[in-house]
Subunit: 393 residues, 2 copies
Amino acid sequence: MTESKQSHIPDKKQPSPVPDGACSFQLHAECVDTSARRGTLQTRRGSIETPAFMPVGTQGTVKGMLPEQLKEIGAQVILGNTYHLFLRPGHERLARLGGLHHFMNWDRPILTDSGGFQVFSLGDLRKIDERGVRFQSHLDGSAHMLTPELSIAIQEALGSDIMMVFDECIPHPSTRQYVIESTARSTRWAARCKAARSDSGAALFGIVQGGMHEDLRQQSAEQLLEIGFDGYALGGLSVGESADIMYQVMEWSLPLLPKDKPRYVMGVGTPENLVEAVSRGADMFDCVMPTRNARNGVLFTSFGKLSIKQARYVEDELPIDPDCDCYVCRNYSRAYLRHLYQSNEILASVLNTTHNLYYYLHLMSQMRNAIASGDFADFRDEFYRKRTVAGEA
Amino acid sequence: MTESKQSHIPDKKQPSPVPDGACSFQLHAECVDTSARRGTLQTRRGSIETPAFMPVGTQGTVKGMLPEQLKEIGAQVILGNTYHLFLRPGHERLARLGGLHHFMNWDRPILTDSGGFQVFSLGDLRKIDERGVRFQSHLDGSAHMLTPELSIAIQEALGSDIMMVFDECIPHPSTRQYVIESTARSTRWAARCKAARSDSGAALFGIVQGGMHEDLRQQSAEQLLEIGFDGYALGGLSVGESADIMYQVMEWSLPLLPKDKPRYVMGVGTPENLVEAVSRGADMFDCVMPTRNARNGVLFTSFGKLSIKQARYVEDELPIDPDCDCYVCRNYSRAYLRHLYQSNEILASVLNTTHNLYYYLHLMSQMRNAIASGDFADFRDEFYRKRTVAGEA
């Protein structure tokens, strides 16, 4: 490592137009070769070292994991889904039961989505107008209307530490005209969300939309900055576009966001996506990929993905990844994990999820260390080298 | 407590006709009011304090539980199923993979059943003759023959610490003639099992059959004692007979068994059954009830059963059992557990199983303490009193 690769401490924080106290973000180091950054996001329920991955806890549980197990593998913050919790058990009930943290026995930060992604995914079951989205519950067909104001009320009732504005995650492909209209509406909704906020201890993040168009992304970012939020997210990614387009949108959008605010790339993605997004200056991520893939027997390793259901593992005494230090890799063989998967055992989901989440969280921890020590570019090279070698083997 | 209720140390162990070294059993205390006994069964993989309950780990896992979690709630020994493990992953493969303990990461004792119960339950898919039972796999229809010799070979390949003889668990009701023939065959098979045993470090238990007939139970016990085993089980219970008949069979059979050998009542039962069986001198139990009921949302408490799916718990902030000290009752409300169950979450099975197994294991621990301190009869009264009060409330 040459001296010129040393990371440097960024400039003093700029004054912020958003309310103080909800959260604060401090940058500790920036990569000189890439736009990767190492920071700390302070929330009312504790700090989050960034770049950070947030396991998804859709229905008040990260599927198959106890809170203690999540902590043991290094989860600093989890994501809760407003849509699901609104429908069941209901946000008013959750508030009476002491909020989501108490309900699910998780005392670290929770970021909540706005419910927008889920209601917009309902297809024929939903109808959009300026007020919000009318939709029918996927559980019982009951009719509801989700508005920016209700989304914030729900997130506050849950006791969210980081709330997201209610917006539309624009499908891909969409016409430019639709992207323009949808993004403009999302921006108006973002302003309504900020106005509706009553819990000054909960952070509120804006979400940049604008589809796969540079000028529309720029416009969206500028308008959100004008409103002013505690952090900024990129929405509308991982919706079927190619990785190249995804990275292009990050390159257009991330530099437009203030350096002294956390940047959250929503719903992304594969380990490669995370490395590339961090390289481009992203700080926070969530994705169902590690947990959902785990339940389907697809495991992440330093040498790529591994499908534990394959017959080749039936008598394989190796752990999932010989280079992995997780509880699963220290104690169980591929043969055992294949047996559990084939036998449809609950423990298959538990162990596979434990490993995959550890893989994701450990990857983030490795990136944080590499950025802090000025080795991020080397880390990224090595990350890809291990995958290539395995692919050739 | 009066002085006359003090427990006493039983007579010195009688010399045993079975091979030494496989296991040893020591009685520490006997109840003066009932036939309850407090002992220690020493196996090659550690000791089991009795009376003991053995969680069932059918397919190489106690459904939903990590080995560490089982230890934390006090599991001393678990049961493995010969039939299931023979079919998948296969006993020869398991032996190559280092045995069942290594495979599933469990270093405490494992008792294995003989596979008899499962193959006899296959109905039309099985055929019995003197050699053994021909059957078709419930997984793929493949044809197999399970014999006493193969059952022992499988149990030894698994690395069992306590093996069971291959026998028929006689259906109820059956004709007296069928019980006579079946029991006689099971006795011949028991002798073949003993002859087939090659692992002198694994204990082998005989199983008393004889249906619901006192004379046939007596005959079975006497013939098994003549062959000589490391311990003795009562089979053919919990097969649809009334609790009164079950207790009657225990009262006939248990006193026939040597005091200095462990007595295992197979497949039993409810908490009440366990208390009654312990009162009648039983030392060991296994049952799928706590684990299976847990997955169906039925939870055991000091005041009886509780069905967590009921709407009445939707906003109930109490733990499952306010008198329970388990991890689940210390951290989660009925409202949360109901939500997880209604949402079909993996964590519902994990938490419910943790509670139910804790309930069973803690019940055994309470009975051990009560026998040791001479308070067992009082304990039993209190056990029923709590249930009655709740029933009246």
